[in-house]
Amino acid sequence: MAQILIIAEHDGATLNPATAKCVTCARALPDAAITIVVCAADASAVAAQAARLAGVERVVMLENPANAEPLAALIAPQIVALAGAFTHLFGPSTTFGKDLMPRVAALLDCAQVSNIMAVEDATHFRRPTYAGNAIVTVESRAGERLVGTVRTASFEAAGGGGAAAIESVRLDVALPTHTRFLRRAAAKADRPDLQSATRVISGGRALGSAENFKILYELADELGAAVGASRAAVDAGFAANDMQVGQTGKIIAPELYIAIGISGAIQHLTGITDARTIVAINKDAEAPIFEIADFGLVGDLFQIVPELQRLVAGSRAVKAD
């Protein structure tokens, strides 16, 4: 029987959708009994959301003023103290999980499987390597505890309707003071979140400037889409770092992905292969992005994007009548 502990990702008020995807991954293990732990200063709101996820048996709240911000050096020893009989400890393969889970694994002296994309059984997992160019099946040792990060783009979010028991646990763990949170400059919250948006529009270096990204935002507003960027566009300063899609940025799986002025380096493509429909707009007909796009349009993005905006805006108005 797999006793699985999932470490919830949240912002203090809302459970991050990545956690619901970890639940789906965990449910793929045979005889999975799933517990979610919420580390927070005040965990009640997030715990209530976690308890509603289908397939979760128990939600544990670790409340401590020191947990107000997700600092791996402080959270890891608490997770270790809670680890007890758990056979698997999972977190999302987000910057939160990538920061925290290896610290937990090392303290538990156990291995970690990063970016789990499929579960075969309690000891066999599939994960991408080499920017997604090679998928490897790994086998962990039976009877040994295992830490994993879940490639969220590979799993649907668990549904609601659950009613897990919520309990508060007090731990007697000395927490380090060597790491202190100072501040977070968050991205604008008035747009859909890149990682959970159903539609994403990304721009590449061909946009030419941060100013020119405006036309993507305008199109995104018409479609209710999030805006992403290629590494080249981020490196050039056209877009913020949290917008980067790809091997070293965000791995996403929207219903619709529109790549605009992105040539399609393999490092970018690995971030979008799970998108349901991919559209590429590029003036270079030889760009590798066209090899994987469902719909390609060769041409000048500065003409096409405003035209697209007019077309989708016009149709929405007709529907509204």
Binding site: F96, D99, P102, A111, I135, L182, A187, D294, L297, L311
Partner: protein, 249 residues
Amino acid sequence: MKRILVGIKRVVDANVRIRVNPDGTGVMTDGVKMAINPFDEIALEEALRIKERGAADEVVVVSIGVAEAQQQLRTALAMGADRALHVKSDAPVEPLTAARVFLQLIAREEPFLVILGKQAIDDDNSQTGPMLAALWNRPQATFASKIELAAGTARVTREVDAGLETIEVDLPAVMTTDLRLNEPRYVKLPDIMKAKKKPLDTLTLAELGVEPRTQLKLVRFEPPSQRQKGVLVKDAAELVGELRKRGVI
């Protein structure tokens, strides 16, 4: 001596087209161009800049791996590292073993800062930095895009999913690099000549008292499932029509 330890991993060059080998035991590496893991290059560049600002005295680069990893260490010396340590291992080591090796080297070298890449572009594991910080019982600052050192502490700006986060850590600490931390310098020819005279010591895992552990067996490698190439449309109107047909807009 204020010392910085930097990890250097030998990986398949980022521009090489990766192919899974026919028997599914790994990827093709014969005759393939190898390079320093790009994030490790950024780590070294940051260490060199810290030294050039006068905040460190010595930069020591470390590579764990096959004999040929010395090529990447020589490149690191040519970039400006002062000396190199090659920890020989013919088999790849898992991240936890790599972290245990670094922990032993920390005991010998007593650095005030260890800078590693946030991930290696071959395994894409993203584990060694936090694992080392845990074993060392010291702070970690992962995905760094800005490092500001002060007396006994450092302020690090981190690239996180929500944006940019700034934390303060006491030193010594482990930091891992993200792409925007710096742009690594190019190696100049005279520096390559000079690098040949810089010290490069070889150690074994046994000398460091580290027993390598294989906790994860790599059962088989497969190429990813390929997406089908779609169709070209002639203009924006046709594109919108197709997307409506699919029901995605």
